[in-house]
Symmetry: C2
Subunit: 195 residues, 2 copies
C-alpha cells in the first residue's frame, strides 16, 4: 500500500472534513442529475455514506453548526468598544470565510438547485436562516446591545449574507463571498444614509 493510499484512507475517518466534503460533492451531483427524491442512499455508496451523514438531508444541511459557530464566535470575540456595525462586519467576514471553507462554490450551486425544487427543503433553509438571525441577536445581547438593535442587526446580517450568497452562486460569478458581503453591507448603508 503506497503512502498516498494510506493517507487517503486516513482521510476517510469519521470527522475528517475533506472526505465528508468529497462525499457531499458526489451526493450533490447525483441529486442534481437524478433529483433529490429519486436518489437513494444506495446510489451514493451506502456504507461509506453513513460514515459521514445521518441521512440524505444531512448532505444538504450538514455544516450548518460550523457556519453558525463562525458567525457567533466572531461576535463573542470582538474587542470591547466596537460598534454594532463593526461587530456585524467582523461576523460576516468570519461566517463568509467559514462557508467558503466548508462548501465549494459549484457544490453550493448544485445544493441551491436541489433546494429550489423542493418546498420542504426551502422551508428547512428558511428555518435555518431564521434561527441564525435569532442566534446572532442573542449573541449581540450578550454583548450588551439592546434588544431592538440586536434583533435588527441579526436580520441585517442574514440579509447581507443571503444577498451576497445569491450573487456568489450566480452563474459565471467568481468573486469571493466575503467581498460580496462587504459590498452588500456598503449598499445597505448607502440605502439608509440621510439624503
Amino acid at each position: 500500500m503506497s503512502a498516498t493510499v494510506i493517507a487517503s484512507l486516513g482521510a476517510m475517518s469519521r470527522w475528517e472534513p475533506g472526505a465528508a466534503g468529497r462525499l457531499r460533492s458526489a451526493a450533490m451531483e447525483l441529486f442534481a442529475e437524478r433529483g433529490f427524491d429519486e436518489t437513494t442512499v444506495a446510489d451514493v455508496t451506502e456504507r461509506t455514506y453513513f460514515r459521514h451523514f445521518a441521512d440524505k438531508r444531512e448532505v444538504l444541511f450538514g455544516g450548518e453548526e460550523q457556519l453558525q459557530a463562525a458567525f457567533l464566535g466572531a461576535i463573542a470575540e470582538a474587542p470591547e468598544g466596537l460598534s454594532v456595525l463593526a461587530i456585524v462586519d467582523a461576523a460576516l467576514d468570519a461566517g463568509g470565510r467559514a462557508l467558503e471553507e466548508v462548501r465549494a462554490r459549484d457544490d453550493a450551486r448544485a445544493r441551491n438547485a436541489v433546494i429550489e425544487m423542493h418546498a420542504a427543503l426551502q422551508e428547512r433553509e428558511r428555518l435555518k436562516l431564521a434561527r441564525l438571525a435569532a442566534a446572532v441577536a442573542a449573541a449581540l445581547e450578550q454583548r450588551a446591545v439592546d434588544t431592538l438593535d440586536a434583533r435588527l442587526a441579526g436580520d441585517l446580517l442574514v440579509s447581507v449574507f443571503t444577498t451576497a450568497f445569491a450573487q456568489w452562486i450566480a452563474p459565471g460569478h467568481d468573486r469571493r463571498l466575503v467581498e460580496l458581503q462587504r459590498e452588500a453591507l456598503l449598499s445597505l448603508r448607502d440605502l439608509l444614509a440621510p439624503a
Copy 2:
C-alpha cells in the same frame, strides 16, 4: 326587528370587514382557550363561519393579501424621484396602517400565541414574510431600483415591520404600530451610520 338588529344583520354579509373581524376575534379566542388543533369549525358556529373563511387557517392568515397590497400599493404610487429609503418609509406607513385596520391588537396577540405553539403555523408565517420581502423587492425593481438594492430593501422592510410588530403586541404596550416602525427604521439607520 329594530333598526339596530337589521343593521347588524346587514353587517354580516359576505365581504363586510367588520363582521369578518368579529368572527375572527371569536375564533381566535377559542384557539387561545382550547388550542388550535382542538378547536373544530363547529365550535365557532359552522354556517356563519364558512360565509367568511375557507378553513381554520384562513382565520389566522386571512387579510394577508390586503396587507401585502398596502405595502406594494404605496411603492407603486410613490412620487417619482423619491429615494429608496423614502419609498420604504412610505410603504411601512401604509402597511402598518392597513394592519392596524384589519387586526385589533388583542387579536394579533392571541393570533401570535397560537402561531408560537405550532411549528407548521410558524412555517406558514415565515413563508408569508419571505414572500412579502420578495414582492417588495420586485415592486422596487419595477421602480428601476437595482436588483441588489431592491433585495436588501425588501429584507429591511420586513425586518422593520416584524421588529415593530413584536413590540406592538408585547404585553402592556399601547403605542401605534406605525410609530414603532418609524423608530425601528431610525434605529437601523443609526446602527449603519458611519461612526
